[in-house]
């Protein structure tokens, strides 16, 4: 529809990325002939994500971010003369649909897949990619067990529940000196997993979990749970669910006069939250990977800006950015190895050090997990998320 405008917009970044590729030491050859280990024809990269039903927001975010990047790469001539073709399959966020979607991507001949979104869908697809030697990079599945099964081609740009849980516990107990902690999740795979990981870490840090319960996401009315929360008088509440509920939580919490430090997990780092909560958002903290605007890298800033220009809104969540990173490391691996062989791609990713991701430097552990302390604490000041001045120490 607006392809021309789109290409015009992505020009600068395409140049930057082309420059990066040139630094790798190989000049892209002209024409469509096969180069190195890449078989003729387009390079197919798959997306396995919930495009419909409950998590459609996230899945469509993946698709948009990746399509945007792919168009940029294709506009500058693709990789070694091969264009990138995105194949998106809907897994509806369930195990049974994920298996079918994965199987379909494999038969479509994709070389790598970004996905899935929820851990259950990712898990159901894992053996299929592994058997068929397809690289899998999940941008959002945070369940610890995913990397415990020895799958060679599995990576994630998402951080683990356990890492963020530890960070949040350290922030609340050690840095802020709170002892009475409340944990609130929304029963989604991700939020519950994070809440459970945080519970363990809080106990390990010597804190006390005085409240552990879920809200019903999208139910809009949290008066009941907040009233109960108030009775427990926690010093801090860590909410692991989504910004879409957090805005209302803050608003309604203030309305009933609940005085406590609200802290949100990384799905809460979204300006829309402040829009919904208004003044009640003031002083709200989040634990999150540093956001694009805080990385201050030109690529990251540009990406968010382009996303906004093309789709008319901000990326829906941190996972969208993470999906972009997943795609970018795959592209980087293909470019550097001149190959689409999963063996070579995986070997490349394993030795990758500090790839400049939008979400921060990307380095993978031997089991495919993302390495390094990623999280930072942010606080809302004057209607803006700003870096908090006291960060938990390593």
């Amino acid at each position: 529809m607006n392809g021309i405008r789109k290409i015009a917009l992505v020009g600068p970044l395409a140049l930057a990325l082309a420059g990066a590729a040139a630094c790798g030491g190989t000049a892209p050859a002209g024409g469509g002939s096969a180069q190195g280990g890449i078989p003729p024809g387009p390079i197919k990269i798959g997306i396995q994500a919930p495009l419909t039903r409950d998590y459609a927001l996230e899945g469509q975010g993946f698709q948009r971010a990746i399509q945007l990047l792919a168009d940029q790469i294709n506009a500058r001539g693709g990789i070694d003369g091969h264009t990138i073709q995105i194949v998106a399959e809907d897994d509806q966020g369930t195990a049974q649909q994920a298996a079918v979607a994965a199987q379909r991507l494999v038969t479509e001949g994709v070389v790598a897949v970004v996905g899935g979104y929820n851990s259950t869908a990712t898990e159901a697809a894992q053996p299929i990619y592994n058997q068929n030697k397809v690289l899998q990079v999940t941008p959002a599945s945070t369940a610890v067990q995913l990397s415990q099964k020895g799958y060679k081609y599995f990576f994630r740009t998402a951080t683990l529940d356990s890492a963020q849980g530890k960070f949040a516990a350290d922030l609340m107990v050690k840095t802020l000196g709170f002892r009475q902690i409340a944990l609130l999740h929304d029963n989604s795979t991700y939020a519950l997993g994070l809440a459970q990981a945080t519970e363990q870490a809080v106990k390990a840090d010597g804190g006390q979990v005085v409240f552990f319960d879920a809200i019903v996401p999208g139910s809009n009315d949290f008066g009941a749970v907040l009233t109960r929360l108030k009775a427990k008088a926690p010093e801090a509440v860590y909410f692991t669910g989504y910004f879409s509920d957090a805005g209302l939580l803050l608003k309604q919490s203030q309305a009933i006069g609940l005085k406590t430090q609200w802290i949100g997990g990384d799905a809460n780092n979204n300006p829309q939250l402040i829009q919904v909560a208004g003044p009640a958002a003031e002083g709200f903290m989040v634990t999150t990977p540093p956001q694009p605007q805080d990385l201050k890298t030109p690529e990251a800033e540009k990406f968010v800006q382009q996303y906004r220009q093309k789709y008319g809104e901000m990326p829906p969540s941190v996972w969208t950015i993470s999906a972009a990173d997943a795609f970018r490391v795959i592209v980087d691996a293909v470019e550097k190895t001149h190959s689409t062989d999963a063996e070579k791609l995986a070997a490349y990713l394993h030795q990758l050090k500090d790839f400049p991701g939008f979400t921060g430097p990307v380095t993978f552990a031997p089991n495919g997990d993302r390495e390094g302390a990623l999280h930072k604490a942010y606080i809302v000041k004057d209607g803006q998320f700003v870096l908090y001045d006291r960060q938990p120490s390593e």
Binding site: A56, N187, G218, A224, V225, T227, I256
Partner: protein
Amino acid sequence: MSGFLELLLNGVTLGSVYALVALGYTMVYGVLRLINFAHGDLFALGAYLAFSFLTARTLAGRLAGPAGLLAVLLLEMLFVALAGALTERVAYRPLRHSSRLAPVVSALGVSVFLENAIMLVYGPDYRVFPHGFLPQVVWSLGAGVHLALVQLLIILVSLALMVALYLFVQRTTVGAAIRAVALDHDTARLMGIDVDRIILLVFLVGPALGGAAGLMVGSYYGQISFQMGWGYGLKAFTAAIIGGIGNIPGAMVGGLLLGVLEALGAGYVSSAWQGAITFLVLILILVVRPTGLLGERVVSKL
């Protein structure tokens, strides 16, 4: 105690919304013995249409204040009513004389269609409902209990709509025709009632009420999502059953009861188990009163 009253008030507000949506289920059930699974999505459509009217550039500014809001409400109800009538014509009328379960599946199809159509038009993310068209007034009722203007409006408007509907059905000739059709299509036809037109009317009125509830949910909570129809729809259908499906005052009682029950369940037991508690109570009520609180003891003709 103040906690209890606060919960009660929240429950009544939410319950009025459930009751309004439940009326659509119960009226359709009354005349067709059909569980209109698409009704929840018509409710969501109402919320989104109201969102469109309130954010439309040409209308912005002219809709401030209660009068503007009322105009949006009426306009949006009209559109949802038309959508409801359209579903009846397209998806249910051709199945009028087939087995009872065929239209149920057709309704499921309409529901899937509507929900995803909303997603395609408005996007899969939450929409922040425009606020500021209502003054942000909150009254303190003492003892830590607060009542917001929007809450009061929801309760009052729901009540007004319900009373109007009740009087319409009980006191007017058209209402009598609706009741006659609910009792027996053939007999109603013999009495000279145009059964098809009455059913169409029900499919205008029920969705219109659901559409009104959509606007209320949007303005009360400040955000809407394309899936809200499925969740609220199931709750409202449950409310209709609790009250005794096919029974108009029953839907109102069931809606309020369910709203209060949910608030208290989440407030005193656990909100993670809230849905489970609700359904457990529903089952208990039905075990004691097999046709709901106000349901007639008639054998359903299946």
